[in-house]
């Protein structure tokens, strides 16, 4: 049983992976697993989002269906069929 997941990228990430993609993933995938897969496919995305040690960089915003994963289970948050993921870097200037 595969899940259909939509990934929407914003700002710098959009320039690397495009505006939006749909992926078919195995049912047990977490958001961390999905981002690792994307990092394999797009090394520039990995450099933008992860430290050389493989940790998610500070201040990056990842939403699943409008909720920041910092308040879910972070990178261990499981995905469900139909989830919409948004990836965006900190935008902080005034």
């Amino acid at each position: 049983m595969k899940m259909k997941i939509t990934v929407r990228a914003f700002a710098d990430y959009r320039e690397i992976i495009g505006k939006e993609m749909e992926l078919l993933l195995p049912a047990e995938k977490t958001i961390g697993g999905l981002l690792a897969d994307l990092g394999d496919r797009y090394p520039n995305l990995r450099r933008e989002m992860f430290t050389p040690a493989g940790e998610l960089k500070e201040f990056i915003n990842i939403f699943i269906n409008g909720r920041n994963i910092a308040f879910l289970k972070n990178m261990a948050t499981p995905l469900s069929d139909g989830d919409i993921i948004a990836l965006f870097p900190p935008v902080a200037g005034g």
């Binding site: 700002a11 409008g66 308040f71 200037g93």
Partner: protein, 240 residues
């Protein structure tokens, strides 16, 4: 309403009614940050007839501000931003009251800054200060209009205590000390979205940008709106 005001605000009274215009006149708004966003929002709100604007910023005008902060001119360099902005806004609309407070926004000053205020416009340049505004907004049940920019990118959302999540539900913060690139046109887009939201919330018209995040991508020439949901365990707005 005077003949002068009926004429002055004619194009928007058509939209908002005299009652809506009166709501703007009675409103007291804190514009937190008088930079790229704050100058746009303050000018928009002053021109629209928002009756009281309190501007808070501790910076002085610098040459590098002038690519985007149109309220200031080269001969303002070195002056307090709030003072220069007050003068310019007064010229734009002598009928409104503008109060400039040249102070850092921190845990000590925030209570005075939000005193007798109906709505906060977040036009800051860092999340540490935004989180101070956020906490003040939610503890006093004040709507807050968030905006932020970087380069050709920008974002905005409207926070209403009791109805939406807060900034700390959505954003982790930002790295300290980074000089953030900004183009004036991006401030124009986001600052104007913030001014629109302010006018909508103050007059009760339209559909505010609540529980949603507007994301502007000037490189792509595209705006996108995504869901932004409250964190039920948030220590600021979740009650737990």
């Amino acid at each position: 309403m005077t003949k002068y005001n009926i004429d002055r605000y004619q194009r928007q009274i058509t939209l908002l009614g005299e009652e809506g215009q009166e709501s703007l006149r009675r409103a007291r708004v804190l514009v937190a940050g008088v930079g790229g966003l704050g100058t746009i929002v303050a000018a928009d709100l002053a021109a629209a007839g928002v009756g009281f604007l309190r501007l808070a910023d501790n910076d002085r005008v610098e040459l590098s501000n002038l690519n985007r902060q149109f309220l200031f001119r080269p001969d303002d360099i070195g002056r307090e931003k709030t003072l220069a902005a007050m003068e310019r806004l007064h010229l734009l609309n002598p009928e409104i009251q503008v109060e400039g407070i040249s102070q850092t926004i921190d845990n000590e000053t925030i209570n005075e800054l939000v005193k007798d205020i109906d709505l906060i416009v977040d036009a800051m340049d860092n999340f540490a200060t935004r989180f101070i505004l956020n906490q003040a907004a939610f503890s006093r049940h004040l709507p807050m209009i968030h905006g932020a920019v970087r380069g050709f990118f920008g974002q905005a959302t409207t926070l209403i205590p009791g109805k939406t999540g807060c900034l700390q539900c959505f954003f982790a913060g930002n790295p300290l000390g980074e000089i953030i690139p900004v183009i004036g046109a991006t401030c124009g887009v986001i600052g104007s979205v913030q001014a629109s939201e302010t006018i909508k919330v103050l007059t009760g018209r339209g559909e505010p940008l609540t529980n949603r995040l507007f994301f502007w991508d000037g490189w792509a020439g595209e705006g996108t709106v995504i869901d932004a949901k409250r964190n039920p365990r948030c220590i600021i707005c979740g009650g737990g």
